[in-house]
Amino acid sequence: MSKIRTARGRHQGGLGSYLVLGLLFLVVLFPVYYGLVGSFMGERDTNSFPPALWPVHGLHPENYADALEIIPLGNQYLTSVLQTLVITLGQMVTSALAAYAFVFLPLRWRAFWFGVFLSTMMIPYESIIIPNYLLISQWGLKDTIAGLTLPFLATGFGAFLLRQSFLSFPMELRDAARVDGAGHVRFLFSILLPLSRPSLAALGIWSALSAWNMYFWPLLATEDPRHQTIQIGISQLQSSDGDSPGMVLAGVMLALFPTLLLVIFGQRFIVRGLTAGAVK
């Protein structure tokens, strides 16, 4: 114990800790670096041994053009974006309504139903993927946005996250709204949701990221390359042309770009939103 105390008191981050941190930083960042640099490498660089760490034999931006040629990336981008938007919006709407019911409505067996909601978080998604698949294909929804998004429109996690944030909502504001004649709908949309924006943003970013990165379900729910999401598309790149890693990495970079933007601009919301309501 005393050791920890002196370490904190005396040197705030010595050379040693900076070395360790720097090393970890490199380990975490290296795949991203190599993805970016590798997407500009020709085959002479990517297939050399030991592998080149930077483009020794010139830049090859044509990797991107090649990737775009092999898979219908425009279509797949559109599919991915639509899928992400529908899932994100759907989850935000259903979660907000469910969380509202759990916090503000006199619900019989409230704790029990909330337990049911929570238990859905503990069932691994892969356990219910077969019934989902059979249902979607029987309804003829394969290769459609509806088929891609239907199983994900509601989530226990979202309801849980928003419930925690709604619970810390000041009841005085709710009573004030009541006195001024606001019903449930008015209170929800004009007062509660605008004030819960950090939590809503956190949920939205979390849903969008996981929807964009989905792999298993889109793999099953789509067959036509023109209706597949970009994640499936870039895995096809690999199998179509095994000895051009540069081109595969170019596809990966194209798929990574939107999520990087989302993380960079959304991170403060995630951090703020997830802890909102944790401590009153």
Partner: protein
């Protein structure tokens, strides 16, 4: 460290569940091979039900239930054993 055991506990539980559901990396990197040595339960579900038009849905569903039980059992054990070390304020 003692003060962040709740967070560590959360990470351990979620990380274990997540690892038990590995699929993408196996599908892309090893395809379950060589000789099925990297076939996880989830990848096996995929193989039985969806790969090569197998359509072995019954067997795959049974595997899915086993996966559910395994996940629940491991989580229960973690809650039983590890949570005793967790220090809640």
């Amino acid at each position: 460290m003692p003060l962040i055991t709740p967070q560590l506990f959360f990470l351990v539980v979620v990380g274990t569940i997540h690892a038990l559901q590995s699929f993408g990396q196996i599908k892309i990197l090893t395809v379950g091979g060589p000789e099925g040595t990297t076939t996880t339960l989830v990848y096996s579900i995929y193989e039985q039900a969806f790969a090569n038009n197998n359509s072995n849905y019954g067997y795959a569903s049974a595997q899915a239930m086993v996966l559910l039980l395994v996940v629940l059992a491991i989580t229960a054990v973690q809650f039983g054993v590890l949570e005793r070390k967790v220090f809640y304020r």
